[in-house]
Symmetry: C2
Subunit: 350 residues, 2 copies
Amino acid sequence: MNLNIALLPGDGIGPEVLDQAVKCLQAVEETFNHNFIYKEAFVGAIAIDKKGNPLPDNTLKLCKEADAVLFGAIGDPKYDNNPNAKVRPEQGLLKLRKELGLFTNIRPVKVFPTLIDNSPLKKEIISGTDFTIYRELTGGIYFGEKKINDEGTVASDLCEYSEKEISRIAHLAFKAAKNRSNKLTLVDKANVLESSRLWRKVVTKIGQSYPEVTLDFLFVDNAAMQIILNPSQFDVILTENMFGDIISDEGSVIGGSIGLLASASVGDENALFEPIHGSYPQAKGKDIANPVASILSSAMLLEHFGLFEEAMAVREAVDKSLKKGIVTPDLNEKSQYGTNQVGDFIANNI
Amino acid sequence: MNLNIALLPGDGIGPEVLDQAVKCLQAVEETFNHNFIYKEAFVGAIAIDKKGNPLPDNTLKLCKEADAVLFGAIGDPKYDNNPNAKVRPEQGLLKLRKELGLFTNIRPVKVFPTLIDNSPLKKEIISGTDFTIYRELTGGIYFGEKKINDEGTVASDLCEYSEKEISRIAHLAFKAAKNRSNKLTLVDKANVLESSRLWRKVVTKIGQSYPEVTLDFLFVDNAAMQIILNPSQFDVILTENMFGDIISDEGSVIGGSIGLLASASVGDENALFEPIHGSYPQAKGKDIANPVASILSSAMLLEHFGLFEEAMAVREAVDKSLKKGIVTPDLNEKSQYGTNQVGDFIANNI
Ligand SMILES: CC(C)[C@H](C(=O)O)[C@@H](O)C(=O)O
Ligand SMILES: CC(C)[C@H](C(=O)O)[C@@H](O)C(=O)O
């Protein structure tokens, strides 16, 4: 297969972990006889520094023309805590999601048996956890009208959803549930929010076309408890943008190793794959960042194009590295392996 | 001291746990020579059933005239999952908060050493956890304009905050931090929301009047992780309404026993005290509901009126019941003690 892949390393540890993912994709090319073309561009803080824009035009163009985007991370402390900053790295990511129409963010939450003791949660609570969060990514309060009055004393954000925005992601989530354990949980705040009531109505209606899937509902506050109290009860969770941001990060602690979690953001015409960890600027250039999340993002990319055997080869190589303890220090304090060595080991085992 | 206390038992297990709190207040009256007057009214589903209104006028009037409100719980499954229901029990609670001007919800999160093994989290993660969440309660997306178009295909909720709404709760939170460990964490989403940027600006400015308090900021998604990964890092958390709803329920799992957690909702002229658990309809009338959260709510009530010694007597009686294992089955499967017995034990030990 021929694939054009846009590489957006971004900030902090983004470039170094992305390098490892590319190594693995190259190993896949060789082993399975594919032809991937990689083109790189700036995004985030580095793009602001170099071009004054967190998402420069040529970066967006590159992404639109590519078959898929492989993303590193964005964010730099110098742009945080500055409420008056006119450009922020995050704007680049949000604009990219919107412009590419990436309306669904998919985040698998799984416990790796070899690492079960790394979790802050007790083993008996998390064992068997294996769910996927479908988070709406281009609507809601992230993209609704923002206002601030002239005196700077009243500010607002609008959370708006249309039936169309809800139904397109709902179909994807129901299909995912059909391919898994036939359970879909809608997380909302329908006892308070009008937009949540629309979500409930639309999702309930769509559920009639998926009779094999059991649909249930959870208020977001209760969901925030259940994810910790009994995470193995979930199969597919569907939710709106802001709630998804919160509960998917919450879910990421279950496995005890945020450095292992990948995500896909998909739309009708494009797809982007990224580790869920941030830019972790303190670790930049130290060869200590865990490359596994980025590598597993490349596995999600392969699956997206139907290359299941290839993705499996990547996942098996990752499992092998975990089993053999070829891991970065975040997973094992005593480990001597760096980002590059772990990347090499995994790539060599594909 | 003379106090007029409005009792709002509400739904489900509300009435039976509230009874135990009243027992304890009566014991305090006797022991410390106070005079509390109790008047009861309907709220929630039972108020809809009896009066067609989740917050009947006479209930609101009673609360306004009282010095404080002691609340049970609200909610009934027959009103859930019905997006078309015209009246919902929750509306009663929201209206009560708004009408009484209860702009600050205070939720202590603490680990009871005797119960540390009940937590889904590992002991070493949670030991030493002792923080308090200050959640804004009468603004934000809960109370902003709600819209749905005529076709029922587009719905929205407005999240709006004014400087005034932010500053009044911020002062309370800074004062609380001063009386604790001098650390305040503002949880927001200032990298995305205009209203969050206003929160950051206002809270930063107010912080200058509390130089002894260290102020830091955490994005809500990161906060949702940190609360589980390292809960003992927090002292006072300040946040807006919706984020507070989610992270305070998330925080409630740390101690492993939601049946122990109390909350206060305070304003300039009134105050309401309630357990954070819900109406738990499945347990209604079975004499198995844990009365401790309701009893500790009454301790918060006493503290609110400066009756610190009295509150301490209640807390010590609670500790004694926990240490002696005089607890309901939620804390110990093998326990034979019911709601009433636990309430009696605690009241008798005041
Ligand atoms: C960086 C930020 C804008 C972003 C979000 O809130 O969506 C991030 O937290 C994420 O979840 O991808
Ligand atoms: C019942 C509901 C409206 C309420 C809220 O969301 O505020 C509850 O969850 C709470 O936290 O007190």
